[in-house]
Symmetry: C2
Subunit: 307 residues, 2 copies
């Protein structure tokens, strides 16, 4: 990853310190897992409701825990593409003697990681992942539209407050024919851009790629860009040169349809697309652009959020 320049480091520190001193977040000794205060949460909840109101069609609503079936990331080749971001869950499966050994090692400050075993659950790497296995089978003729607000995990600890290990994503998933899915994504790219601009944020659309691992990953990322499979709406938060993605719009083609046997009525493999708003990122962008006190935000922005 590219080294941030000192000017960005200053901006990162000022932003984090401002969020803390105004009680908006509560620092924790590990990067990317800070606590959120009441005002932060109020803005987040209202921004989320505002996003949900933009959906032109009614969507089914589901909520999944932050922990999912580990087989989901294996069936989708997540550990090939993003091993560096995964969070696997290990548990203690031992007996009394093993527990005694574990306790001794922990208290003596000795390594104890090998006393734990891989379990059949992992952290959810993207809000939409737990949905696809529940779609196995034949879709209705009009396809499906589902919305979710889930906690997501990415192992990328950073002092930059918008780069978190754990955060919430408001996600929509559209499943159906390629035409249904692409038309839906196009409409939402415009809506997402419009929504963030109404919040007074200098938002722009970009063709983007996922952070695929390694040299093979660089080739995959190039292919993703060339096919315009991923768009982001970005806003400068800690750097004008490297704006932050607040929402992304991904066309998966038949990747999940194949992995989970999701079909259309005519027997063809279903296509899917998703869009996700990083809710903490939108909230932090608002504090960055409008100040740390929501009472002093521009009236037109307040009217959008506290409507």
């Amino acid at each position: 990853m590219e080294r941030e320049r000192p000017a960005e480091d200053d901006q990162v520190e000022r932003l984090f310190a401002g969020l803390v001193s105004h009680g908006l977040i509560v620092p924790v000794d590990v990067h990317g897992i800070f606590g959120r205060g009441a005002v932060f949460e109020d803005v987040l909840r209202r921004v989320d409701e505002m996003i949900v109101r933009q959906s032109a069609e009614p969507a089914e609503s589901l909520t999944f825990p932050p922990v999912i079936d580990r087989s989901v990331i294996q069936r989708t080749d997540y550990l090939d593409s993003f091993p560096q971001l995964a969070g696997l869950i290990y548990g203690f499966l031992g007996d009394h003697r093993d527990a005694h050994q574990l306790s001794g090692r922990v208290h003596r400050g000795e390594p104890w990681g090998e006393l734990m075993s891989l379990t059949d659950v992992c952290l959810n790497p993207a809000a939409c992942y737990p949905l696809y296995p529940t779609m196995t089978g034949v879709l209705p003729l009009a396809g499906r539209l589902v919305t979710m607000l889930n906690w997501v995990y990415r192992r990328e600890p950073s002092p930059e407050p918008t780069r978190m290990q754990a955060f919430r994503v408001r996600e929509f998933v559209r499943a159906g024919s390629p035409a249904m899915v692409l038309e839906w994504r196009e409409a939402w790219i415009r809506r997402g851009l419009d929504l963030l601009r109404r919040l007074g944020l200098p938002a722009q659309t970009e063709v983007a790629s996922d952070p695929f691992f390694g040299r093979v990953g660089a080739v995959l990322a190039e292919g993703q860009r060339a096919q315009q499979l991923k768009f982001e709406v970005v806003v400068p938060v800690v750097s004008d040169d490297h704006p932050t993605a607040l929402c992304s719009f991904n066309y998966h083609q038949d990747h999940f349809g194949h992995a989970f046997d999701i079909h259309q009525d005519d027997g063809s493999v279903a296509h899917t697309a998703c869009l996700g708003f990083g809710l903490e990122r939108v909230v932090i962008a608002l504090f960055r652009h409008h100040g740390f006190d929501p009472d002093s935000w521009p009236a037109e922005v307040r009217a959008e959020i506290w409507c």
Copy 2:
């Protein structure tokens, strides 16, 4: 753990099947991590708001991610007391060659758990744990009262829908002198019992203990009961003989005060108590006692929730 009797197994299966067939939950191939539908979530959110309204005093409000600083469970000896319930997070720290090896093993179905490394984060084992390290220092004279709604993890997969691996807890924490903390807990035990009875649930208070690990743990549990450190409000859900705890009230004495250097103004170590409502458990108890369609629930119960 005691073997459930066949009658309870039947009850467990009927309850799970009813929740699924009414779209209240969405089954997942691993036990204890099912998805939640829109009606389930609506009831959960309203029950949560009802609980928060019971607090006699205004509480500070914080939200923590499902993932916390691993040092918190080490400083509180959680791995001594409950190793079997912990969820540690492991990540991939390797290079290109290691990634290639990982991918090969995953695709060939060979063991790959040892290719991952213990990280400095773990799943949150109880809603209040991430709060205590943020309290280090001297408390205000009147102590502190904080409320949180956090996702919690326990490694105890079960087909019983109220025994989940991942669930939400509405928690309150009181920190201060022993007298402040005990008086607060007493008032809340009455409030918790009253609240669940107003929801039409046959609730009872019990002295309880935590599921400490092993033979030493059995002694710890006995001591906890003898000192009445833990109370629960229980309601029959899948068994009349073994009712389910919907909320618990725990007096920690100076356990967390010592672990995180939390002091009172006079220099003495602060005492703490917490209470937590298992939100999914309350919701499932409501469906079990009043039926799977909230429109047909008793009018007085509906009036409490949709007020």
